[in-house]
């Protein structure tokens, strides 16, 4: 029956209204094809299709799929007179040769529904879009494995109707060895820990997490009384997973860690001595607050965080232009120094025009080559979304569509990326889906007028407090800097299908950050003063395998730049950088500048594929440099350096060893350690003494105790 529809979301006028038991192409046939894998990227969902049959990736474009199935290939894919002779059935059931093999047999429900649909005329009925996909499980947390539960999926459509569509949903386990989907809706949890299940239906994809205890620590409700939400959420998760929290770190351990994490520098000897002398159970809380505040207001803090964010912003120099990088870096340092809100930083980066030699943030759009890269960097830095996939097809693991991608790029299409950055003139972006100029668009929300400067609306979008996009990715970065791992990893890939280890904590931190003016110091202070941050590296029998729930402090190697700066500080000899005006590795924010020493140690060549987490073990080249290269050896040999001065002054061995412990490990050597090393190093031969001291210092600087935070 032909009906004219008035639903506003359809631009096409005439549709067939579904009868009571009519099979719906969009809601039923496409999901069946998705479930069978027909429209996966490796099969007919590939950009070029397969075997001259092309479907949209994961059924994102049902209209095109309907044409491919019903109209293309002279209509031979469906046979209305003899539905069971249709290629759409004969191929996947293996009756005819099929590159993809047999996917289901003729009696399977898949075949039956396709058969019925073809029998009814293979039409595409009007189907209101899917507004919400809700996946629930009878149980998401278990006390043991293996265990099982059932999942259920419900779809809410734009016309308000709801339907249970469990059997049409494609469930995919992110780790089939840990979580398995049987017979469509039965979930088997096979391994302890938190595991993710993806559910895909029509153009939506959702994630649901299942968990079971990793340890056997007794349950306790201690978390409920935690003083702040950071500790509460962390302890809550530890309790759920039965992981015992390690004791709190020693004063020295905390002190060294907080210096490295807030400023990228080791504490000075005097700071170590005075803290360790004055700290006790009465003074501890107050002293720690004071130290954190001092660190947050130091110049090293500014250097360090500017260096970190310069990496995320992919700062680089341009050929034959020195001023832009300097202006950009200085501007970032000033924002950090004054603790200006990062909402302001976001607005300026997104909207600044003018002379890029003077106006720092105008360089944001110059570090990228074109509007598409501009959109990708905006997505990654401000929203924690990797939009790149949506260039060629809708993002298969997130909600972003091709229109979103090209629409966001269109916002930046008329940015003129020369020295004088301006907006206007010519420039558009072709939407690869339509082949037409893309309509500017706020991703996931709305189209914008083709003309006009919409960059500030993009800022509104990332700062919008309903979603907290920018706040979430920012606090995730800060968390990683202090805890060694993001609540979401990779740190700027906050897609729907990559849930946080602690989703509530991420949301709370983001809201807290935004509500307090997007100021770094506020959130860093909160994190640095939490009990969770102050855990010891000491492991307990039940938490040795934990690498993401913060039951203990994870050993984290210093980044190459921080390591080289620490070597400079400890040895009191500077690294001979080629740029004589720069003294510290954190001053180098130019990702396009090669730095041989740091590069050999595994410095991140800042770029899209760079994940700045050092792995903890060096490769052979780095090891050779530490063993035979100049980076440590030369500094220990230099007569102006700490070690050779100590030797030349003929200081008592005990004093030398104690000083190295204080300066490098930020703690005093114990009496046992002192005795051990004075025995090892003692000799009457002056030359031999010198060599033993060099070997002692070299080993100390190569030890885990030194290079880990």
């Amino acid at each position: 029956m032909l009906t004219v529809l008035s639903w506003s979301w359809f631009s096409v006028l005439v549709f067939l209204a579904p009868q009571g038991d009519d099979v719906c192409f969009d809601r039923e046939i496409v999901p069946v094809l998705t479930k069978a894998g027909c429209n996966a990227g490796s099969c007919h969902g590939a950009a070029a299709g397969r075997g001259d049959f092309r479907l949209s990736l994961f059924g994102s474009n049902p209209a095109a799929d309907h044409r491919s199935i019903v109209d293309a290939f002279q209509g031979r894919r469906v046979n209305l007179h003899q539905p069971d002779r249709s290629l759409l059935l004969r191929k996947p059931t293996g009756e005819l040769e099929h590159g993809g093999g047999q996917l289901f047999d003729l009696n399977a429900s898949e075949s039956q529904i396709i058969l019925k649909w073809i029998g009814q005329g293979a039409r595409r009925h009007a189907a209101p879009p899917l507004e919400r996909l809700m996946v629930t499980a009878e149980q998401t947390h278990f006390e043991s494995v293996p265990n099982q539960t059932n999942v259920r999926a419900e779809a809410t459509f734009a016309d308000g109707t709801r339907r249970t569509i469990t059997e049409l949903v494609t469930f995919t386990s992110m780790d089939p060895t840990a979580l398995r989907v049987d017979s469509g809706r039965e979930i088997q949890l096979l391994r302890p820990g938190q595991h993710v299940l993806l559910a895909r239906y029509m153009d939506h994809v959702e994630a649901i997490q299942f968990s079971a205890p990793l340890g056997d620590a007794p349950s306790n409700a201690h978390w409920e009384t935690a003083e702040n939400f950071v500790d509460r959420e962390i302890l809550k998760k530890l309790n759920e997973l039965r992981l015992p929290p390690s004791p709190l770190a020693t004063d020295a351990e905390w002190h060294r860690r907080v210096h490295l994490d807030l400023t990228g520098r080791l504490p000075a000897i005097d700071a170590v001595k005075s803290y360790l002398q004055s700290v006790n159970d009465t003074t501890r809380a107050e002293l720690r607050e004071k130290i954190v505040d001092e660190l947050l207001n130091s110049s090293a803090y500014v250097d360090y965080w500017a260096w970190r964010f310069a990496g995320d912003l992919r700062m680089r120099s341009f050929p034959n232009e020195k001023q832009p990088l300097a202006a950009y870096h200085d501007w970032l340092r000033e924002i950090i120094k004054q603790d200006q809100g990062f909402d302001r930083l976001a607005r300026l980066l997104l909207t600044s025009d003018g002379d890029s030699h003077v106006i720092g943030p105008a360089n944001f759009g110059r570090t990228v080559r074109d509007a598409r890269e501009h959109a990708e960097l905006v997505g990654q830095f401000f929203a924690g979304v990797r939009l790149g996939c949506a260039n060629c097809h809708d993002h298969p693991l997130d909600r972003w569509t091709q229109d979103d991608y090209h629409g966001l790029a269109a916002v930046f299409a008329r940015v003129q990326r020369s020295r004088y950055v301006s907006f206007g003139g010519r420039g558009d972006v072709t939407n690869l889906r339509t082949g037409e100029p893309a309509t500017p668009r706020i991703p996931g929300q709305r189209n914008l007028p083709a003309l006009g400067d919409h960059r500030s609306e993009v800022a509104d979008w990332v700062l919008d407090e309903q979603q907290d996009l920018f706040a979430r990715v920012m606090v995730n970065r800060l968390w990683k800097a202090l805890f060694g791992r993001g609540l979401v990893e990779p740190v700027d890939d906050l897609r729907l299908t990559n849930p946080a280890t602690h989703p509530d904590l991420l949301a709370l931190l983001a809201r807290d950050f935004a509500a307090n003016g997007f100021r770094l110091r506020h959130t860093l202070r909160r994190l640095a003063l939490s009990h969770s941050y102050a855990r010891s590296k000491e492991s307990l029998p039940g938490n040795q395998a934990d690498d993401r729930y913060y039951s203990r402090a994870f050993p984290r190697p210093m980044e190459p730049a921080i390591f080289v700066d620490a070597i400079q500080d400890v040895t009191e000899i500077s690294e001979p950088f080629a740029q004589a005006n720069l003294e510290r590795a954190v001053h180098f924010v130019d990702s396009s500048l090669p730095l041989p020493t740091l590069d050999a140690l595994g410095r991140c060549q800042l770029g899209p594929s760079c994940d700045a987490t050092p792995t903890g073990t060096y490769n052979l080249s780095a090891q050779l440099q530490l063993l035979n290269g100049a980076v440590i050896n030369q500094k220990l040999r230099d007569p102006r350096g700490r070690l050779q001065r100590q030797w030349a002054e003929n200081l008592p061995l005990e004093q030398i060893v104690q000083e190295w412990y204080l300066v490098a490990l930020s703690r005093s050597a114990s009496p046992t350690e002192l005795e051990h090393w004075t025995n090892e190093l003692a000799t009457n031969d002056r030359q031999e003494q010198q060599q033993r001291l060099e070997d002692f210092a070299w080993s100390l600087l190569n030890s885990r105790a030194f290079f880990e935070r």
């Binding site: 590939a46 093999g101 049987d182 490769n619 080249s621 440099q625 290269g629 070997d695 100390l700």
Partner: protein, 442 residues
């Protein structure tokens, strides 16, 4: 059930998600992963004399199959491109005219003309070709060489996995940085070529190095006691120690010890001298060497990039002539030294190029069909496996996936593709999943 396993429903990409699901089901029924895969291994892949070493010539960027080993002289001009095929020393097999030296050693080579992959983006395609696993955000898989040295755990003085001059994308993945290739850096064709930092720092000798090692162990031991974790020995440190304390090992990197005529044979350019260095290393027991030759992402001007090298060149010094000289010298030199039988040589990139020339006279990415050249290590010479269709668009017969290639390379190197490695979280991951032996390779 048995029948089902032998005739696995192979999807376009070999084994897909559903197959994994099936494996999952099987495990539920008491049949473990390793057993499942053990049963689908083609019997032929067993009991073969295995290669002792592998040289991977990695042509980064994706070399054009249509300008190297799979020409289409009868196709329309926009497909067949600027170069003609020539005869090789094997009747019936033709290569590109720019491969005239390699054509003389065609009797040593198998050309697989039906490689196929769905991945047309450099990063992803690199990962797939170099690991045999489609990239996944959940786990970064190790490249061939990393897996090999992880399983063989040699304690020789030379590193087991060397990359000349750079590592490129062939990393260690979840096995960790200790299994990353050792990058020689520098330019082997430069007269003053030295591998950085393999010689002692002045004034430090073996005795002092031993003392440093002992002191370091004392520090790390104390830290491990504090953390109550087992002391983690860094294998890279031990490797570095062995290398710097062996003069013999260090001389393996010294190209100046090669006679002038041998050096000349490989050609004066970086790629040729890299091949020579690879031969020296393999000769001295290094089991896996990658020679990285980049620049094959020829989106524009095939004649300039592939043949001439720079505009107005009198004799071509572009990508293919440079490759031709070094690669053919490598094969014949290995052969003359009796090393080819035990050395598998594989030349490949991450994908092929579009059958139709683009408007800049170049070709874009094309993973649907492309070629791989293999020799030595038991591989039969003088043959072609598989073919592409008339336009070089799709495999015509015997499609080979990167998984199949990985399965076959591991097998040739004497590794059981079903061997399980451990991911960092402790779960077993087979060396290869879903690959099949390339029929006719040996």
């Amino acid at each position: 059930m048995d029948k089902k396993m032998k005739q696995r429903p192979v999807r376009c990409d070999g084994v897909g998600r559903r197959d994994l699901l099936k494996v999952g089901l099987l495990t539920g029924w008491g049949l473990g992963l390793s057993q499942y895969f053990a049963r689908v291994v083609v019997a032929q892949s067993q009991q073969r004399q295995t290669a002792k070493a592998c040289i991977l010539v990695w042509l980064d960027g994706g070399p054009s199959h249509l300008e190297t080993f799979d020409l289409k002289p009868d196709a329309p001009a926009e497909v067949r491109g600027p170069f003609r095929p020539i005869a090789t020393n094997v009747p019936g097999i033709q290569y590109c005219e720019l491969l005239n030296q390699t054509a003389k050693v065609a009797d040593k080579l198998t050309i697989v003309r039906s490689l196929t992959s769905p991945l047309g983006e450099h990063g992803l395609a690199n990962q797939y070709m170099l690991t045999g696993y489609e990239p996944s955000p959940a786990l970064v898989h190790p490249s061939y060489g990393a897996a090999l040295i992880h399983l063989q755990q040699s304690s020789g003085a030379l590193p087991g996995y060397v990359a000349i001059p750079k590592a490129g994308s062939a990393g260690a993945g979840y096995l960790g940085s200790a299994y990353e290739p050792f990058a020689t850096q520098g330019d082997p064709a430069h007269p003053s070529f030295r591998v950085p930092d393999i010689d002692f720092f002045p004034g430090v000798d073996v005795d002092r190095l031993d003392r440093r090692r002992a002191y370091l162990e004392q520090f790390d031991q104390r830290q491990a006691e504090f953390e109550r974790l087992a002391p983690s020995r860094d294998p890279a440190f031990a490797q570095a120690y062995r290398l710097v304390t062996s003069n013999e090992a260090k001389s393996a990197f010294d190209l100046s010890q090669e006679p002038q005529d041998v050096r000349a044979r490989y050609g004066p350019r970086t790629f040729g001298q890299s091949c020579l260095l690879a031969r020296r290393l393999v000769e001295r027991g290094v089991p896996f060497v990658t020679v990285n030759y980049s620049g094959w992402d020829t989106h524009a001007d095939l004649v300039l990039q592939l043949k001439e090298g720079y505009s107005g060149a009198k004799s071509g010094v572009g990508l293919i002539p440079t490759f031709d000289l070094g690669f053919s010298a490598l094969l014949s030199d290995l052969s003359e030294r009796g090393l080819l039988e035990q050395t598998l040589v594989v030349a490949m990139g991450e994908f092929g190029r579009t059958p139709k020339l683009n408007s800049q006279g170049g070709r874009d990415h094309w993973p649907r069909v492309f070629s791989v050249a293999m020799a030595g290590g038991g591989v039969r010479g003088g043959q072609v496996i598989g073919s592409s269709d008339r336009m070089g668009e799709s495999p015509r017969d015997q499609p080979i996936t990167p998984k199949d290639l990985a399965f076959s390379v591991f097998t040739l190197l004497g590794l059981d593709p079903n061997t399980e490695l451990l991911a960092p979280d402790g779960r077993p991951v087979p060396l290869n999943q879903g690959g099949q032996w390339i029929q006719g390779l040996t």
